[in-house]
């Protein structure tokens, strides 16, 4: 391993876990970082040279990533105590915060290995709220409904959710072992309810969100909106769904089955 001596190095403290049932432990790595380096490029360096700061050769750190431009959502982890994407976490900025970079897996999802977690709960939640537009099929049936630019703007902002899980990791109400559905799925329900055809499933979505773990379990801490990397107006979505469920509940009290 030839480490360029005149390159700056930074200490990485990585919380590791070999398998879902085994106990976590910490390991330190010293990683050289050229300007422009980010956490992923450093993890790649560790993968190529898996040697700890005290000189032991260990198994490389496992982590998730794909796009490397903060759009696929795969590489989410807890960096220096805060949840974010590792691909867009620039070392130059992290170095200003602290002397070392700590990497931990997200705490609200089961760990698969090292920094990899299992976020299938998020995808399952999307099934629960029927996060789709119920089109008639793929045959050519003309264009979709027209839409005002203002509505498009609102929906576009919501459509950028990459199911990364930051909002859930930071939420005090979303826990590894409870049923809260979390801000991302609530916001997706709003997204589909705002579409002309998507609306036809609105009642089903709201009913799902009125069950335990639904929208009313939100405690309005508003951490979600602070950590969302895509600046999705999650607290507005929560309020909007709050209104929709309120109206839906009253309506179904008086005229429901």
């Amino acid at each position: 391993m030839a480490t360029n001596t005149d390159q700056k190095t930074i200490r990485f403290k990585v919380k590791r876990q070999d398998a879902p049932q085994t106990a976590p432990y910490w390991q330190d790595f010293d990683v050289p970082h050229p300007p422009g380096a980010n956490v992923i490029s450093c993890l790649l360096h560790i993968a190529a040279n898996p040697v700890t700061a005290d000189g032991r050769t260990v198994a490389p750190v496992a982590w998730d990533c794909n796009c490397l431009e903060e759009v696929c959502g795969a590489c989410t982890m807890v960096i220096n105590g805060r949840v974010r994407q590792s691909c867009s976490a620039l070392i130059s900025e992290l170095a200003e915060e602290a002397a070392a970079v700590t990497l931990e897996p997200m705490t609200k999802f089961p760990v698969v290995r090292d920094l990899m977690v299992d976020r299938s709960r998020m995808f399952k939640n999307l099934i629960d709220i029927k996060a789709w537009v119920p089109i008639d099929g793929t045959h050519a049936l003309g264009p979709g409904p027209t839409e005002s630019p203002a509505n498009q703007d609102t929906r576009y902002a919501l459509s950028r959710c990459m199911t990364c899980g930051c909002c859930l990791e930071a939420c005090p109400q979303f826990l590894l072992d409870n049923h809260f559905i979390g801000a991302a799925a609530i916001s997706q329900a709003r997204y589909f309810n705002a579409h002309e055809t998507g609306k036809t499933l609105q009642d089903d979505r709201l009913e799902a969100l009125e069950t335990p773990g639904g929208v009313s379990d939100c405690g309005n801490a508003q951490n979600c909106v602070q950590v969302c990397p895509k600046d999705i107006p999650l607290t507005e979505s929560i309020a909007a769904i709050g209104r929709q469920t309120t109206v839906h509940a009253i309506k179904s009290f008086f005229s429901g089955k």
């Binding site: 398998a19 993968a47 867009s88 620039l90 789709w132 119920p134 089109i135 929906r155 576009y156 199911t163």
Partner: protein, 633 residues
Amino acid sequence: MADNQPRVIVVGGGLAGLAASVRIAEAGVPVDLFSMVPVKRSHSVCAQGGINACNEVARQQGYSEWLHMDETLYGGDFLNHQPPVYEMTHWAPKVIDLMDRMGVPFNRTSEGQRDLRLFGGSLFKRTHFAGATTGQQLLYALDEQTRRYEADGKVTKHEFWEFLWPVLDDSNGKKRCVGIVAQDMRSMQIRAFRADAVVMATGGCGMVFGKSTMSVICTGGAASRCYQAGAWLGNPEFIQVHPTAIPGEDKCRLMSESARGEGGRVWVPRKKNDDRPPNDIPTAERWYFLEEKYPKYGNLVPRDIATREIFFVCQQGHGIGGGRMVYLDVTHLPDATKHKLDGILEIYEKFTGDNPRNVPMKIFPAVHYSMGGLYTVYTAKEDSKGMVQGAPNNMMTNLEGLYAFGEVNYQYHGATRLGANALLNCIFDGLFCGLSVVNYVRDQKPGARAAELPAQPFNTVVQQEQAKMKRLLEADGQYNPYQIHAKLGDELTDSCTVIREENRMKRAYEALGELNAQYKNLGLSDAGMWTNQTLSFARALGDMLIYAEAILAGSIARKESRGSHYRPDYPERDDKKFHKTTVAKFDAVTGRATLEYEPVPTPLIAPRARTYGKVEAEADDNKKDKKEEAATS
């Protein structure tokens, strides 16, 4: 379990794979969908600029599906087959309508119609978009429809499963694909899955070049495995280098063509080594070289041309500070226009720390797209105007029952892909050729279903893959796969991207031999049997080396310049010798490609010179150099 229902396997959950899954499931055929990552995180999510289709506004200015086809063929330097391009461009409006119905938040005009933007290689606004993250919105829409079928039990997702090898059966005398062998990337279990047809929709191979604008799983490994199993490659040497990307440590991040489509301008300081901050350089001292050289298309010439111009400008020492960068400038655009580009401007800001709304971006070309891929066939209509809908062989590889959709399919783009045609080709493949898959599996005779075959062909492949894994895990050589990969990337990027010099390519070819030797002497730092990512990467590296050989061999053998393939020693297009598809067949004995050439029929449009109205630049250049001397003296 004798099951009379045919099943289909789709490998890949990008746009192509999801569109295929939806189309096939809709027809009532159950689908097993495989992806290395949750499908919603597939590489298609990165696509930014938009998706092309003829539309009423453009039509009333003289545009048409026919012109869209013509642009695609002209852009592709006539290496593309015409009937599939005809069909795709004529289907394009339907594709947009469908995505619109699925709820894709396309940008809107004040009246609520879909907004349009200009894109490379066209003089008409025909690109539909959702901000500057169109791929994300399109992928999500298809992901949602897939989830709907998943909830109904018609699509079974196998996420974090890696395709390892196709299973071929030749009991009927003809090789037929009857399933795949795949590995669970968490438990590392390797097993076979049966299916009456397999659709490969595994995307491009940018990782062969080390750094590219593509995602990290775009290794081309899956395509390479099919190639080694007997599928052919078409035009592997055609690799697109995108003109505008941010060079990075781990990846070159794309700054989409939409920046130029919305009015962004490419320039360099007129004076060499001008080290003033860009905003201090007055307009008169900026050289908008693309606009000057191509007055008609300006900044929106096709990518290969823009890329070469940028490359040459830098080679001549005109790059920013004399280096290898030029400015991409959107600072002059109105706020509302910048808002449409937020998706990419945020990327620039996040990764460089500069706000491109106020400061011109610094960009350089980067490997972006693979025009080549698995070789496929189709059934053309009698008049060659399109393909026969539902013909079972549409986009089938030379192996029966094995299809290739999306970027991994070599069809449609010829020698260069026009911007915003890839998303179209992915969705079109899935929808149009999905029906072909359905018809193919329904035509299978009962008794010949994959589910009814003996276990032997499946077990053979499982054993082959287990042995391969064992070999890799037990390897204790001295070479690290990540380091071999870095060298492979350097060699290919240096020799086989913008400029392809024969001697440099031959050196790279030799280096490849050395890397292959090192690969045989690999040592893995992880021998575990749980979520072993190193194993997966090391295995794909072997496949990348084989794919790289085909790219290099194809590039060396093609002694002409065409589209993205530019040879300084053969700077002209040579239709007589090379208006042909390169067909690469894997020779298992030598581990190399055997190249064959297949003529490209041109039933609809005759090839013409591809100039994009370039003004003869030389006189111009001389003038400039003189001016410069005057300025410096």
